[in-house]
Symmetry: C2
Subunit: 88 residues, 2 copies
Amino acid sequence: SVETESGRQLYLSPGKGGCATCHGETGNEPVMPMYPKIGGQMEMYLINQMQDYKLKKRKNGLFVPMEVAMEHYSDEDILQIAKYLASF
Amino acid sequence: SVETESGRQLYLSPGKGGCATCHGETGNEPVMPMYPKIGGQMEMYLINQMQDYKLKKRKNGLFVPMEVAMEHYSDEDILQIAKYLASF
C-alpha cells in the first residue's frame, strides 16, 4: 500500500541494510534458525529493537550483523520499516 | 498435542514464570506494544532468547520481567516451552 511502500523499499533494498537477505521478504522467512520472525510484530517493538541495535544496546546472540545493518538507517527510516513489517 | 503439552503447562502456569500473562496463550497476544509476538518463532531462536534472559545476557528494553520470569525455569523447561511456542 502507499503507507508501507517507503518502508518496503528501505527493507528490501540490497544497497541499504539488506534486511530481506536474512529475514525474507515479509520478515517471516529467517535464513537461520537463530533468527527471529519479524513480520507482524507490533510497530513499537520493531522500532525499539532496531533502535537498540543501532544504539548498540542489544548485545545478545547474533547482534553484530544487526548493528552493521542498522547503521544504514535514519530514525525516520526505522519508523517506515516498522510500519512495513507491522503490516503483515 | 502430547509433544507440546509439557511446554504448554510450563508456559501457562501462573505459579511458574507466568509467560501467558504478558504474551498471551499462544504467545501472539502481547499485552503491551513493546512486547514481542513469540508464537511460531523458530525453536532455536526461542531457546536462545530464554537462555540469554536467564543468563542475563539480553539487557535491552523491558528485560527485567524476563530475567525474573526465567529464574523459574530449568534448561529442560526452556526446551519444552520452546517446542510449545514453535508449534504455532
